[in-house]
Structures are given as C-alpha cells and as structure tokens.
C-alpha cells in the first residue's frame, strides 16, 4: 500500500447463504480519485460499499481502508468516512438543523465546529433560511444535497456515495456532479455507485460489476478504447428490439442492442463495420433509414462486457 492508496481490496468475497453477492474482487483507489462502481441492481455494488464502510464483514479476502483492516477493526474506520446511503436517509420528522446536529454530534464534533459545519452544509444544500423546515417536506434534490452535507460534516477524507442521484431530476444531477468534482479536486476521495451510464463518465476510473464480479476496470477512455470504430448505429424506425435479436444471430456481429429507435451493433474486430452491417441487414432484407459508425458510450462498453461475461 503506497502513501496515496486510500482503498485496497484483495480477493474480497461476501456470501449470503450460497449467494455470492461479491465474488473475489480486487482493486485499489488512490487519493483524490473519483472511483465509480457501475452495474445493474444486484451486481454487488451496495454490498461492496457496505463492506468498505464497516457495515458488513467480508466472508473472505482482505480490505484496507485508510490503512485500517476493515475485517478486523470496522469500528475504527467509521469516524473517518462519509457515507451517503441509497435512500438519502435523513429523518423526515426532524428539521434540517436537527438532522445535521444529530449526525454532527454522532461524529463527535465540538459545538463550535458543529455550528460552523452546519452552516456549511445548509449553504451547500441551498437551504439557507430553511433550517427549521421538516425534511419530509423538502424536494428530493434538496434532500439529496442535504444528505451529502450531512455526510461531509466531519470533513472525511473518503466519501462513499451509494446511488446518490437515483430518482433526482437531470438538472439537479448535473449540479450534484459539479459538487462531487470540486470535492475531489480539493483532495477528498469519492467512491460512487451508479447505474446511470452517462454520469459515470465523470469518474476518473470505473469498475464494471456484474454478478458480484469485476467485469472491467479502467478509465472511461480505456474502457471505450476496445470498441472504437466497431460500433454501428442503425436507425431502423420500428421494432428495434426484434431486429436487434435477429442481427445478433448473424456471423461477425458480437452484439446488437436497441437504443431507443436505433440499434447499436458491435462488429467483430478487424471487420469493416459499415460494410459488415449492411451485409447483415441485406441478408435479413431490412431497409434501415441510416447506417453510420458512432462513438462508443459506456453503455455500449457495459453491455458488451456484461454479455461477454455471461457467455
């Protein structure tokens, strides 16, 4: 573990009965990084976060967080972390101030520091003047930012965010990510899970989780690299799902997935994508509106990787 390593995980597994929620994963996170965990529901993202926060003990393998062995001393790691759980878990029947005072107090902040940090959190959440409002009445976007503020009261070096933008309006999501990036640039390490592919582009590095395993790990650019020049976007108008299914059976087609009214087709490496796509379409006697090569998105990567894992 080097000085700048904040999280180091080796062969970590967690079983629930016979179900392998997390299955032999290894990775490390360095200081100031925004580290994204991407995957479908049930892929093992939340379980991993809960283990790293000391909320769940691993079945096997090792995890060190801020130089503390989380298998052995989960209680020691808790004061050093900020954690924002899936449901923005503030108490709806407590006011903005009361929620912040509760969490700040539990982290052992002195009353003068608590007052100072509370003011910071209220301002960050955009709730100045609304300190006495019950949290139940706040719109979701404000709840989310207040929950973030609560997780930052004790100025943790490492912040865990579990699905921090689930259900939040796009504009509020963008603002939220601006906040995350500014936190990271001031030295806080951010570990974030999401199933929104677009927002994970904000991460420095990404893990793609599937069925408890790491399917891929790298920077967004690295992950997309393998697909550059291999994706064809086919505008087909109607029944893209059915056409995609038929295209998948065609030789040289690695995968075909519906994207709204279009299809993203991944061709095998070394083939000319446009020609190959046209050939496949001709064989199926389909007349698409347009066929063009497009830039891979993380969603393409995710789907290709996951289907690769599944096979």
């Amino acid at each position: 573990m080097t000085e700048s390593t904040v999280i180091e995980v080796e062969h970590l597994s967690r079983l629930f009965g016979k179900f392998r929620a997390v299955d032999d994963i290894s990775f490390s996170v360095t200081r100031g990084e925004i580290f994204g965990f991407l995957g479908a529901n049930g892929a093992g993202k939340t379980t991993t976060i809960r283990i790293l926060c000391g909320l769940l003990s691993p079945t096997s393998g090792k995890g060190r967080v801020l130089d503390i062995d989380i298998g052995k001393a989960p209680e020691r790691v808790k004061p050093l972390l900020g954690y924002m759980s899936q449901k923005f878990s503030l108490y709806p029947d407590l006011t903005v101030s009361e929620n912040l005072e509760l969490y700040g107090g539990l982290y052992g902040l002195s009353s003068s520091r608590l007052a100072q940090r509370r003011a910071f959190a209220v301002e960050m959440a955009g709730l100045v003047g609304q300190e006495a409002v019950l949290c139940a009445t706040l719109p979701l976007g404000f709840k989310q930012r207040l929950a973030l503020g609560a997780a930052l009261l004790h100025e943790p070096k490492l912040l865990f965010l579990d699905e921090p933008t689930a259900g939040v309006a796009p504009r509020a999501r963008r603002e939220f990510w601006t906040l995350i990036r500014s936190l990271a640039s001031s030295g806080t390490t951010v570990f974030v899970t999401s199933h929104y592919m677009d927002e994970v582009e904000n991460c420095d590095r990404i893990v793609l989780m599937s069925r408890g395993r790491i399917a891929a790990l790298g920077t967004p650019t690295e992950l997309k690299q393998g697909l550059v020049g291999r994706i064809v976007r086919i505008e087909c108008g109607q029944e893209p799902a059915r056409l995609a299914r038929r295209l998948r059976a065609h030789e040289g087609v690695v995968d075909a997935q519906p994207f709204g009214s279009a299809i993203h087709l991944i061709v095998a490496p070394g083939l000319d994508p446009i020609n190959h796509a046209r050939k496949a379409l001709a064989a199926l006697e389909e007349q698409p509106r347009s066929v063009e090569v497009c830039q891979p998105t993380l969603e393409d990567v995710f789907i290709s990787v996951v289907s690769g894992v599944a096979r």
Binding site: L55, P79, L81, L90, L106, Y107
Partner: protein
C-alpha cells in the same frame, strides 16, 4: 459507551414520539380508553338484573320474596307476566334475564308448615352472569326461608324461636376487597396490561421503522455503537412508561377509589423493571423483524394478547388447563400482576413480593441482553 451519543439518540427518539400523533395516542390515549372501558363499561359485577315476576299466589309471602330480591339491588323489577311463556319472549327480546314464578298456594303451604318452592328462570346465554344471578337469588332467599320456617314453627308449637337459627353457618368476609368490586381487581392489573401492550408495540415499531426507512444504515455508518442506539431508544420510552403508570394509578385512585395500600416507591421500582422488560421484548422483536408489519404482528401475538388473556388479568390462572398454566410463567405481565395487586390491595411489601420482583427483574435483564446481542449480530 459515549454519554453524548446516547443523549443524542434519546433526544432524537423523543422528538419522533412527540411529533408522531399515532405514537402519542398509542402511548397515552390507549391507557385512557382502556381505563375508562374497564372501569365503567366492562365491570364484571352483576347487578340490576332485569327481573319479571309471575305471582299467582298474590299473598304477603309472595310479595316478601319479590321484595327481598329487588331490595338487594341485585335485581330490578321490569314487569309482571301472566304465563311462564312470556319469560321466553322477554329473554328473546332481551327485556329480562331472570323470571320468578310463584305458584298459587305458596302462602297456604307455608302456613301449614309444608314445603313450598318458587322457580327462578335465568337466561343462560351469558353463563357467567347467569350463575352469578342464581347465586344472588339463593343467597338472598335462604335467610328468608329460614325466617319463614322458624316463624311457622313458633306459631304451631308455641316455642320461642327468636333465638334459633341454622346450626352451622358460614360467615365469609372478603379481605382486601370487601365489597368484591371488580374495579379494584381490574385497575391494578390494568397497569400491567397497559404497560405491556403499549410498550411492546411502540418499541417494536421504532427499530423496524429505521430498518425500513434506511436510516438505520446511515446511523450504523457513524461511530455510534449498536448498544448506544438501543439505550438511546429505551430512555424516552421509560419516561413515557412512567407517565402511563402515573396516569393509570392516579385515575384508578381518584376515579374508582382503588386503595393504594402499599409503598408507592416499591410500585415505581417494580413498574420500571417491568417497563424495561416490555421494552426489551419490543426491541428484540424490532431488531429481528426488520419491517413494521411483521413487527406489529409479532408484538400483538407475543405481547398484547398474552398479557391480556394469559396474565390472570381477567380470568384466574388457577382455572386454566395445566399446560397453559405452565406457559403463563414466561409472560412477564403474569408476575408483575401479582406485584401490582399485592401493593395496591394487600399493601404487600418487599418481603412478600421479592420472588416476583426478582423474576420481573430477570426478564428485564435477559430480554435487553438478548435484544442487544441480536442487534449486534444483525448489523454485521
């Protein structure tokens, strides 16, 4: 254990209760309703039994018998009838539950010193009330019958019978509750029932609610320890329990004249132990159930029903089947009931109640310890 964190948890928990009208109603409204219900409506005393009379004798003797029943207060005359069939109709229409039938010739037979009978018909639908009503009638008419017998003896033989009577008489007195008022019997028991049912239920909801909302997850990610969370949850409910106890005790004494003959401090200490046992039971349910619906079901089945039905609150444990009697031993309310009735009615002290106190105390310690252990295991 950090006192500050326990205080923060307790303050938060108190705010939850104060802001949730349902919790408040459960905590203070239910005791009030139960008390009024049991005190006024559900009294098990049988009096003012509506009585019909068929008097075919129309003699001074027959009137004496009717008057004796009515004067006692146990029966109230609602009318007279012309044939025994009318009694059935009246029972069916629920206008009367007892009917007295006096045949012609009663006075003549009595005057001749012969045996005579009167008939009392009772609506047996409510077995308990019926047997009490017949018991009253027998008890009221027995001395009257003796009196009539002696007077007739005196008239026929010229003996002085004024000092004669039944050679062997049972004279029973009811200690501690001389008038056998059911309120005296119910109110002390009601303290146990109220503390058990409301607190098991309230507590069962608190932890499961936090599991459901996800706030437990957030709490556990902070440095707060599981034991601090549980202790913090316990404190406000103990205070609420004290308020409930005060409410029921003072209303019992002021409204229903229930005597408080024992030591108030002992009652307070015993109630607190019992309160902690009930809260411990609720905590255990809450920790394991993880959702409010399941927690409510389990709390009603394991806390509310047993403490009402199997604690000896309404029906004596001695008259339950043997197996059930053994089962009642694991219901804390059963033991606490002995304590409250002892302190209220008998004026029992520490010496008489030490066994029950130890048992209730053990329940408190054990249930809390198990809840804490399960909670610790549950969060790993």
């Amino acid at each position: 254990m950090s006192p500050r964190r326990v205080f923060l948890m307790a303050r938060k928990e108190a705010e939850h209760v104060l802001r949730d009208s349902r919790s408040l109603y459960l905590a203070l409204g239910i005791p009030l309703v139960l008390l009024l219900l049991f005190g006024y409506a559900l009294t098990m005393d049988v009096d003012q039994v509506p009585l019909l009379v068929l008097d075919r004798d129309q003699s001074s003797h027959s009137r004496l018998i009717t008057n004796a029943l009515v004067r006692s207060g146990a029966f109230v005359l609602v009318g007279s009838m012309d044939s025994p069939d009318e009694a059935i109709d009246a029972f069916m229409r629920q206008e009367a539950t007892a009917a007295l039938i006096i045949e012609k010739g009663l006075a003549r037979r009595l005057d001749r010193g012969e045996r005579a009978q009167v008939q009392l018909l009772v609506d047996g639908t409510n077995a308990n009330d019926a047997s009490i009503a017949s018991g009253y009638a027998t008890a009221i008419l027995q001395p009257l019958a003796m009196d009539i017998a002696l007077k007739s003896l005196a008239r026929r033989t010229g003996l002085d019978t004024s000092r004669m009577g039944v050679p062997l008489a049972v004279r029973s007195r009811n200690w501690f509750n001389q008038a056998l008022r059911s309120q005296w019997y119910l109110v002390p028991g009601l303290i146990a029932v109220i503390l058990a049912m409301t607190n098991v239920l309230l507590m069962a909801l608190t932890v499961s609610r936090e599991w459901e909302r996800g706030t437990m997850e957030q709490l556990l990610s902070t440095p707060v320890r599981p034991a601090e969370i549980l202790l913090g949850k316990l404190v406000p409910y103990v205070v609420i329990g004290w308020a409930q106890m005060l409410l029921v005790t003072s209303m019992g004494v002021l409204l229903f004249d229930v005597p408080l003959r024992g030591n108030l401090l002992l009652l307070f200490v015993a109630s607190t132990l019992f309160l902690i046992a009930s809260l411990g039971q609720g905590l255990l349910i809450s920790v394991v159930a993880r959702n409010q619906q399941v927690a409510t079901m389990v709390a009603v089945l394991s806390g509310v029903l047993p403490s009402m039905l199997l604690s000896g609150f309404m029906s004596p444990i001695a008259s339950m089947p043997k197996a059930l009697q053994v089962f009642t031993e694991i219901i804390p309310a059963r033991h606490f009931l002995v304590i409250t009735r002892g302190i209220f009615l008998k004026g029992s002290g520490l010496d008489e109640l030490k066994v029950e106190l130890v048992i209730v105390g053990l329940f408190a310690v054990l249930l809390l310890a198990i809840a804490n252990k399960r909670f610790g295991a549950e969060v790993k």
